[in-house]
């Protein structure tokens, strides 16, 4: 399961944004920026997703849906707030209907400011999210919630698994690179 921190699947949801940030999120998967070459796929199903990209300041009607999608994403998961609106409410902060930022509803891990956030900065945010994702994954493994116990797998992967359990993520990255080369 080492490779899955390298090709996360994204789910994007528009929580009351002006659309500007949404199409920039979509533009990331297009030929110019093409995050799909890293195996990052924009999926429509929360249950397949690892990273949750939320745009917009979340209004009252949207809040339960944001929460629902967040709950449906399996652990570990990372939340990316894309755009100034998603970070703080932005220009709409004073609107009567806006809660003011995604973090009012669900915990946010990475903030990507910008109005509209540029594809470059969104990709930067995703890369940051990957490191966090690995951390969360390692923590889950340490707590014994990670991989299911499978004795047949253990025989092959015994050493590797232990290594990733005990050491921090940077070590694992290093060993990955060794394998790759």
């Amino acid at each position: 399961m080492k490779s899955f921190h390298k090709s996360p699947w994204l789910i994007h949801y528009d929580a009351s944004s002006c659309n500007g940030c949404d199409i920039e999120v979509l533009a990331c998967t297009m030929p110019r920026y093409d995050v799909e070459r890293f195996g990052i796929i924009n999926t429509g199903n929360p249950m397949h997703a690892d990273i949750f990209c939320v745009t917009g300041g979340v209004n009252t009607q949207n809040a339960p849906i944001v929460k629902q999608i967040y709950d449906q994403i399996p652990e570990p998961k990372v939340v990316l707030a894309v755009g100034t609106c998603a970070c703080t409410g932005g220009i709409f902060k004073e609107c009567y209907n806006i809660l003011g930022g995604v973090d009012q509803v669900i915990p946010v891990d990475v903030y990507v400011p910008g109005c509209a956030a540029r594809p470059e900065s969104i990709i930067d945010g995703v890369v940051k999210a990957l490191a966090l994702y690995q951390e969360k994954h390692d923590k889950m493994v340490q707590e014994g919630r990670g991989l299911p116990e499978d004795p047949s797998l253990d025989e092959d992967n015994d050493v590797d698994e232990n290594a990733s359990n005990d050491d921090n993520s940077s070590d694992e990255n290093a060993s990955d690179e060794e394998n790759a080369s």
Binding site: S16, C18, N19, C21, I23, P31, G57, Q61, N62
Partner: protein, 365 residues
């Protein structure tokens, strides 16, 4: 007996989070077997209440709020608001600014229609075409960024003109870009209009006759695809009165016609940009100085990529205007959408939702 044979009705929720929709809209589809018999939309997921911000932002700052009604046609929203206030204050902006507004409007239309074509291709599962459309769109956005400073939210409008001028080199680059875009568009347009698989999905889907389009108040390409010749650019706001173009219509009334009309408009936009760049006058200033505060009311109508939008501004002579009201094209197109959904097979629903080119964040503001 008939009651036993009658198929049971099921309600399938569509949205708010759905793979084909970049934006949330919720439609309850009442189904009999595979056929939609009724569709009940519910909106409000992106309602921000930005019209009420007029109480907190003065009329100059409101330009930036108006631009963020929607990120796709951001430039036109800002311009619609500015023109409304300019009419109230009775200021005439320099000709060069008018031409530049026209050029940027058409750039917005280009990128909006390309975005829509891509999403449509994605809707019927033609990934390569989707990527191709968005690749061309990046060229348009690059030009917008070079000349205005922003890819989507450009913020070059202000009440009384424009914030900045463009250099002759920029104009030249813009012209080269549209010519290049036109060249690259041709094979894409050919695929959309003549490819067997595209035709099999679009032809005959979502029929909206001319009478229905009028009765239900459709607007924009949706209306022109039903054979009605209405285009607000012909009213001659900005510099459109000096530009020569024809209204593109189609009499097929189906999804294919809507696609064809939008593709026609892409080439038309290229032509308008070329004409505007050829005719643009030189002047020192692209804005005029404002005196006092606006007092009065005005209703500005303009043609967005998706159809007619109007901006109503009522000002009372202070810094803060009284009322700002926007009606956007998708709102007008929702009733025709519900009409076309009735009787459609379930598999066509995402496609039909896409053919109106929905922009939910405009609709709900």
């Amino acid at each position: 007996m008939s009651e036993i044979i009658k198929p049971k009705r099921t309600i399938i929720p569509f949205g708010p989070q759905h793979p084909v929709l970049p934006e949330p809209i919720h439609i309850d589809l009442v189904m009999e077997d595979e056929t939609v018999v009724d569709a009940i939309p519910s909106v409000g997921f992106i309602h921000r209440g930005l019209e009420k911000l007029v109480e907190k932002k003065d009329y100059n700052e409101m330009v930036y709020v108006a631009e963020r009604i929607c990120g796709i046609c951001s430039f036109m929203h800002g311009m619609g608001y500015c023109e409304a206030v300019e009419h109230i204050m009775d200021v005439e902006i320099p000709d060069r600014a008018k031409y530049l507004r026209t050029i940027w409007c058409e750039f917005s239309r280009l990128h909006s229609h390309l975005l829509w074509l891509g999403l449509l291709a994605d809707g019927f599962g033609f990934e390569a075409l989707f990527n191709e459309c968005w690749r061309i769109r990046e060229k348009v956005l690059d030009m917008v960024e070079l000349t205005t400073g922003g890819r989507l939210i450009s913020s070059v409008n202000k009440v009384g003109g424009l914030i900045k001028d463009v250099t002759p080199e920029m104009l030249k680059a813009m012209k080269e870009t549209v010519i290049q875009v036109e060249k690259e568009l041709k094979p894409v347009a050919n695929t959309f209009l003549n490819d067997y698989s595209v035709k099999s999905r679009l032809c005959g889907s979502g029929i909206l006759t001319k009478e229905e389009a009028i009765a239900l108040g459709a607007c924009g390409p949706m209306m022109r695809a039903s054979g009605i010749e209405v285009d607000l650019r012909k009213t001659g706001y900005a510099a459109y009165d000096n530009i020569d173009f024809d209204i593109i219509t189609s009499n097929d009334c189906d999804g294919y016609a809507r696609c064809a009309v939008r593709i026609g408009e892409l080439f038309q936009s290229v032509e308008i940009v070329r004409q505007a760049i050829d005719k643009i006058p030189d002047s020192e200033e692209v804005s005029v100085k404002l005196k006092g505060n606006p007092k009065g009311e005005f209703l500005m109508r303009l043609e967005q990529p998706r159809g007619e939008a109007f901006y109503y501004v009522e000002a009372n002579g202070t810094k803060f205007i009284d009322r700002f009201r926007v009606r956007t094209p998708t709102f007008a197109n929702l009733a025709p959408l519900i009409h076309t959904l009735k009787g459609a097979p379930f598999a066509d629903v995402p496609l039909l939702v896409l053919t109106i080119d929905p922009c939910i964040s405009c609709t709900e503001r």
